[in-house]
């Protein structure tokens, strides 16, 4: 199988979904945006809590992330909610240039009447929603897909079975021309030599080391040494002895292929192959940054369970822990526990995971989509003024 049923775009990669995105650019719009979203079931809400007083790199990053969500492959149309006409027109123009339908509403344009603006946005949103829901899927190459890998609330099953299984999926997908990305810079600690040896060029390798050094510096400035107490007592009890071992278990979800790029947080994943992205450790920040980079689907492994998913990118939740799979059947998409129980070899699970992956790409809802557990967040890179 080399194709899926998706949504070809005028520019960029194909979509796995055709979302109407309600994009609230500023915390001033957030309450109104929630009312709009509540009135438009099926639409996706991405709402910034900030948007004023950002400076420098933090300001540029906030703008970049909002625009990346607005032009994400899985975004079919956008309803922009903004505090002023300038911000509104900037984002709307950026979206329109990609061929997507977009409508903008600013408080300034509505005489600061949030009630009237919300009512009008809902009315316009209904038309946009009908538009995106009326579009049909078409054959698209699977090689157009960027997969993001994430792990959260991990246990012994994650590093031994579930992350390596997602790594198998990455290797399979990338061997067929696709792209993948994994993140969380602190999860690379101790395995930099191995990661650098896999980098496609010295420049990528140098960049990777610089990203780790920069995260160390952030921690050191706050008085923390990332090597102390890591791995912790829970890791030790689960069988992890060293930091290298812990990190290798985490990065095994990226497979074994050469590393083409070491990207800044949220930066565009422009070509095929395996990429690293510098992100914080919190899953919402990490996932949103990879999604902003263009990932259209997420594989999220968990040991003890974790309901969270991306709002824009369908998120396949996997566990190798049989107790978790049994306890959370409505929240786990793929049960890898037969490999952890020794009933099946990990390699025998890959065809099942590939089949699920294909169904989700072509529209089958994931647990986090059914349960409305999706969100996108934007990291802060510095304080506001």
């Amino acid at each position: 199988m080399s194709e899926f049923k998706g949504f070809p775009r005028q520019t960029g990669r194909a979509g796995l979904r055709n979302h109407l995105l309600i994009l609230s650019l500023c915390g001033l719009n957030a309450p109104g945006a929630r009312r709009v979203a509540a009135a438009l079931p099926g639409a996706v809400l991405v709402s910034s809590a900030h948007g004023r007083g950002h400076v420098g790199a933090d300001k540029a990053f906030h703008t970049h992330m909002l625009r990346a969500f607005a032009t994400h492959p899985n975004t079919g149309a956008v309803l922009v909610l903004a505090p002023d006409d300038g911000l509104c027109d900037g984002v709307a123009g950026h979206v329109a240039a990609t061929g997507r339908a977009v409508e903008g509403f600013s408080l300034q344009g509505w005489g600061e009447d949030g009630t009237a603006m919300t009512a009008a946005a809902i009315e316009t949103g209904r038309q946009l929603l009908a538009q995106v829901q009326g579009q049909r899927r078409a054959d698209c190459p699977l090689s157009d897909i960027v997969i993001a890998a994430e792990c959260g609330h991990s246990d012994a099953s994650s590093g031994i079975v579930t992350n390596p299984l997602v790594g198998d999926l990455f290797d399979h997908h990338i061997a067929r021309g696709g792209a993948g990305v994994f993140s969380e810079t602190l999860e690379w600690l101790g395995c930099e030599p191995g990661l650098c040896a896999r980098c496609a060029s010295p420049a990528v390798s140098d960049r990777l080391r610089d990203l780790v050094t920069a995260r160390h510096a952030i921690a050191a400035a706050a008085g923390h040494d990332l090597h102390i107490g890591n791995p912790g007592p829970q890791n030790h009890a689960g069988g992890i002895t060293t930091l290298e071992e812990k990190s290798l278990g985490a990065i095994s979800k990226g497979g074994t292929g050469p590393i083409i790029g070491a990207l800044a947080e949220g930066a565009a994943i422009t070509g095929p192959g395996l990429h690293l992205m510098d992100t914080p450790t919190l899953s919402p920040e990490s996932i949103s940054s990879m999604v902003a980079g263009g990932a259209q689907i997420v594989c999220f492994t968990t040991g003890h369970g974790n309901p969270y998913g991306s709002a824009l990118a369908p998120t396949i939740k996997l566990t190798g822990n049989p107790e978790t799979a049994a306890r959370l059947p409505g929240q786990i998409d793929f049960d890898a526990s037969p490999a952890f129980l020794g009933h099946r070899a990990r390699a025998d699970l890959l065809p099942d995971l590939l089949a699920l992956f294909g169904r989700v790409c072509s529209g089958a809802a994931t647990a986090s989509e059914r349960n409305d557990e999706g969100d996108e967040v934007i990291s802060r890179l510095g304080p506001s003024v």
């Binding site: 031994i160 090597h227 069988g239 290298e244 490999a339 129980l341 020794g342 009933h343």
Partner: protein, 88 residues
Amino acid sequence: MTLSAILLHPDDTVVCLLRDHRAGESAILPTGPTAPLTADTPMGHKIARVTIAQGATVVKYGAPIGQATAPIAPGDHVHLHNLRGGLR
């Protein structure tokens, strides 16, 4: 037969246990049983599949995870008492 251990990479000098094992038991890999375990070893923990000299590199995921701080025999539990990472 139900497998009870996993070899993550062909180059590894340790295997991971998929359930708790008692001393004297062998863990079951797809290729057959391991050396008998020399101690009770919990699920998720590692046992050596080869002799590892003191000071030698221990390999898991096909990569170094630290150095042996004591001689390690096949079937030995490999953990904090005989393995130290390179970073601390």
